[in-house]
Subunit: 387 residues, 2 copies
Amino acid sequence: MVFPFTRLSLSGERFSITYRLLAADEAGARARARGICLEQTVELPEEALAGDDIQAGVAGRIEALRPVAAGLFETVISYAVETAGAELTQLLNVIFGNSSMQPGIRVEELHLPDSLLALFKGPRLGRAGLRRLLAAPERPLLATALKPVGLPAAGLAGLARSFALGGIDIIKDDHGLADQTFAPFCDRVRRCAAAVAEANATTGYGCLYVANVTAPIDRLLERAYLAKEAGAGGLMIAPGLTGWDAARRLAEDDGLGLPLFCHPALLGSFVSGADRGIAHRVTFGQLPRLAGADAAIYVNYGGRFAFSREDCLAAAQASGLPLGRLRPGFPMPGGGMTLDRLPEMYRFYGRDIIFLVAGGLYTHGPDLQETARRFRERVEELTAGPP
Amino acid sequence: MVFPFTRLSLSGERFSITYRLLAADEAGARARARGICLEQTVELPEEALAGDDIQAGVAGRIEALRPVAAGLFETVISYAVETAGAELTQLLNVIFGNSSMQPGIRVEELHLPDSLLALFKGPRLGRAGLRRLLAAPERPLLATALKPVGLPAAGLAGLARSFALGGIDIIKDDHGLADQTFAPFCDRVRRCAAAVAEANATTGYGCLYVANVTAPIDRLLERAYLAKEAGAGGLMIAPGLTGWDAARRLAEDDGLGLPLFCHPALLGSFVSGADRGIAHRVTFGQLPRLAGADAAIYVNYGGRFAFSREDCLAAAQASGLPLGRLRPGFPMPGGGMTLDRLPEMYRFYGRDIIFLVAGGLYTHGPDLQETARRFRERVEELTAGPP
């Protein structure tokens, strides 16, 4: 069946996506790429669309195709900006909705024109803003997490106080702290924010307490505003649990006006193979910026997770590359990090990094404030020299 | 560091998750399982917790561990219900948040006690309710999709009319129809709902027009209510794009009171390997029911996607197995289906199925109403005999 000829009103602007494809040869790769062009837009076989403006304007278009290794190809496919319908949810759908269900396709990189990027505010503070807020113009920033789930709010606040007195910049809730009976959200956030404010009055530092507001859709804003009113200095959300658009909603809320931290919970399935999913540079570099995150947490290489050095570097770099007028965000690697690894991480990532050391502080010694002080001292010593 | 002894108030009720693990031997598998117990809860090394109530009550507990093949183990790990904090977002986090980032772990099945299931309303209509609504007590239900993106609202409504006149039960928007300029949401939904209502007046059938309301978080409810007011008979959402909790929010809204259909866009990365992600039976069987979907769309085996027969059957079965007082939902396989495959699919799935044939109707012949009529006729013929 051929649809009646339809003249579409299109701006001519297109965004494009780099995909990696498994295919036996170039002809096979081209057929797969053509399949993506249809799957991600019209979702109809070519014969149903022949000679139609819909095919010419709305179906994806292969802009490039090249072999990168035996059986592996890279293709760039462009789409009319209008297909994304000015919404992050539908943009994600065009990027990878149905193709996520086909084997041997990975999203490698997003290339978005200014007209599309203009739909997103991006990080509120970005790297420079967060540095200003923390009066740390040059050095890597220090972060840790409050845990474990099960500890009462007063216990978590006690940990927050020790970390803040020791000179940590950013103290975030563990992502497993939601609104459990052990330490209900309101109580926990009030106590932790107060403890950090008290410590700041002693130290003169501007340590931020970052509340985890990952929550059901109908409680998200309520929780974010409670956190702000309680004096939290930032918000954390796990887009894998809430959807990316929930992060965007928080980031763009001028009434909140707080820096936003993204946590990678449940996003691992997207980055679990070189031949599937969405590459680290997109998942932890580009998407967090579209969603307005000032920093994107991900798991570092060499810890108890399996991200490679290359994947971590690609994520960190993508968080700083030009992306329209969207500010750069901070990469925030964590997961099994220890103080001993700081020099190596500094050489690897450079200055624009947030070191997230959590378990590694808890097991370092019995005096958390002293451990935090050493963490800060080591980072300041490192920063005296080049990366 | 050992935390001060904390007496936790726990009900003693636990939920458990079956995971598959890659490991060289049983000792390795046990170490990995122990890692999950900590990773998904306290996220601290064992030595930081020794002798503590938190470890005893809050950390996960290995309930079973057995080899299933060379290098492959199955373990059942239980968690205190309190760790899930009475919220779907946090339940997902405990199930697989951080472990999604570790290689060789797959979520195979959820085992949730009634106290946890009581937090969720589940499908509003379920299989029996949807059958009543469509006056189809026994046969498989028929569904198709309106497409392609790019077609104006009047064109989509014309398709809807033809399909409804031909006797399709459920006519859904393609998941690529959001709020694009080609066919803005309001205009599209009003025209399509009206066209289906008009056709129903002619046929006497109760065909449902199902509007895709997948949208940014701050427009989701607005769009769902617009759809209801326009006369839509159901709502569709893609939880991969919005988060699962957005589906739950729609399903539990008594003001809406409409059946809910889940679309699998962007969920493919979760089911893309036997050694990672979240099994089909969970992603397309158990989670949609927790989120209140009356039917879960997934891609059928043997089409242009790569789901196996076993995976499809597991998803379909899980949608009907006992799950507390939550109603069973319909499995709704689609993706490259044709009318020729109906007998085989009927044998494979039985009566409790929604056949989603979309592209296969568009390419079957020029007269869509006639094609739809044949689709209905074939299903009715099939249903005269046993599966």
